[in-house]
Symmetry: C2
Subunit: 139 residues, 2 copies
Amino acid sequence: VNGVTVDRNGLEVLEPAECFRLLSHATVGRIGLSMGALPVVLPVNFLVEDGRILIRTGAGTKLDAALHDAVVAFEVDHIDPFEHGGWSVCVTGVAREVRDERDLDRIRSLPLAHWTPNGVGHVIEISTDIMSGRRIVRP
Amino acid sequence: VNGVTVDRNGLEVLEPAECFRLLSHATVGRIGLSMGALPVVLPVNFLVEDGRILIRTGAGTKLDAALHDAVVAFEVDHIDPFEHGGWSVCVTGVAREVRDERDLDRIRSLPLAHWTPNGVGHVIEISTDIMSGRRIVRP
């Protein structure tokens, strides 16, 4: 039986490899960033490829502007309010626009959705250097 | 038929009253804040009472410290990746510890859950002054 590390709140601390696995299997995440000097959290579709988080933004939008060379938080979770269980993973990384044409061509072939009907302009990549995760431990 | 306001991304802009209604019916939200100078997003249980968001934190935790008199983002959403639909509401407000004993007594009688086994120490309130919401418009 493997040992489980528990934090001071009694939540299981997830290993980086497990965080990355959970992140890679999710399709919707929440991005935390500053827009107009105020913190906001927004849901976005994403894809993990080559160790980075990829999202699309409408070119020229406030979100697009806020994601150029900014440090952002990116969170995925699965919470079950009825079962009283769940996990969450939070990444803190640098968001940058992908500008390399070969990279963009390849990314365009990936199943990276964008739910807004208009303005699928830019592809943003977020590094996954800092990652932490927690899971609710069943008694 | 009521008119629907659509933003430049083609998403329906929700009225403040509708944002507040959606917020009031949710039980899990994600809080976006700075911890150790880095942005993070974490899931939390919450309750809306008297126009404010109430959450519990373990006393003395990093989260607890980060929620004292800080401007934070608070997000709720319902996303359906299969139906390609959903909505999200984001609040930006000031987080403060509730210290008034009468207020605390009343809050303790409310169904405000806390999932971590340890340290259910402080009650934090977040103001709901700034609120915005979006809904994916079906074609």
